[in-house]
């Protein structure tokens, strides 16, 4: 799968928080984050799953359907961090007449692993 960079700006975190009805201060309130001894406003870990799903759907096409995603948070990331999503196919098989691929995706911040997802995608659901 092609690599894709994604940097969540502070504006992005406000937009993501609003779009998911998650108004926790950690994601936009710099003073609150500093009081929690964090270096900046924190990216919601579930947003990493959204990045993985976006890239998987771009790669697999409009008729693909993600059946499962196992998402693991490995380290924290903050507004302004330069993140890169990457992934590769680990298996492909036919189930009940449908092709299903398994992909392993990682979200990196430099050499540091931020999150990982293993997903199963049905290629022609629609």
């Amino acid at each position: 799968m092609p690599e894709q960079a994604h940097t969540f700006t502070e504006v992005d975190l406000v937009a993501y928080g609003a779009a998911t009805w998650d108004w926790h201060r950690l994601h936009y309130d710099q003073a609150h984050a500093q009081a929690k001894q964090l270096p900046g406003v924190l990216i919601d870990g579930q947003a990493f799953g959204a990045v993985f799903a976006r890239e998987a759907m771009r790669w697999a096409g409009p008729t693909a359907f993600i059946q499962r995603m196992g998402l693991k948070m490995k380290s924290m990331a903050f507004a302004g961090d330069h993140l890169v999503a990457r992934g590769h196919v680990t298996a492909i098989e036919k189930r009940e007449g449908q092709w299903v691929v398994q992909i392993d995706q990682q979200l990196m911040c430099g050499d540091r692993l931020v999150a990982q997802a293993i997903s199963e995608i049905q290629l022609d659901k629609a």
Binding site: D22, A53, F65
Partner: protein, 170 residues
């Protein structure tokens, strides 16, 4: 001191149900796509979605598991309005360890999705930082108006003591 107290153990199996208050919504889907810089036309273009074989605009796959749209309460002191168990685990910080999502079909903009959270289990395990930590497993089940499950979200949270217990340090 054990983190997994009898008070916590008694909470295992607890369930909270959040009925659907409105349709998932075209605006919610478009808003999320914009926030994620996701230009996939499946989320904004009715004709494109139908041409791809769907009844109409669909939601990005993980949105149903990420949104707290089901909630309807005043935000707490941290600004949060989503589901919480309010577990009495003093002196700990909470960390999201992971989520296992399973989907049975795409969520449509017109779907009315209700959510049921279940507190499945709590397990105390040694921490690599020293001391013990508490793993809390919950599952959210997302049902459509016909009662069919469209997604489940099994969530693992970890409560880590801010100061590891002295006698359990390596």
């Amino acid at each position: 001191m054990a983190l997994l107290t009898p008070e916590l153990q008694a909470m295992i199996g607890r369930q909270v149900h959040y009925p659907a208050r409105e349709a998932f919504g075209h605006a919610s889907i478009r808003y999320f796509a914009l926030a994620m810089h996701d230009d996939n036309p499946l989320y904004v273009d009715e004709d494109y979605a139908k041409a791809a074989g769907y009844p109409g605009i669909i939601a990005p796959p993980t949105l149903v598991c990420e949104t707290c749209q089901y909630a309807h309460r005043v935000p707490d002191a941290d600004g949060y309005i989503g589901h919480e168990w309010h577990l009495p685990v003093p002196g700990c910080r909470m960390i999201r360890a992971g989520n296992d999502y399973a989907f049975t079909r795409p969520v449509l903009a017109t779907d009315r999705i209700s959510v049921t959270w279940t507190l499945e289990s709590m397990v105390e395990k040694p921490s690599s930082r020293g001391g013990m930590q508490l793993f809390v497993m919950s599952v959210a089940t997302y049902n459509d108006a016909q009662g069919h499950t469209v997604a489940t979200n099994r969530e693992a949270l970890v409560f880590q003591p801010l100061v590891p217990h002295a006698q359990t340090q390596p």
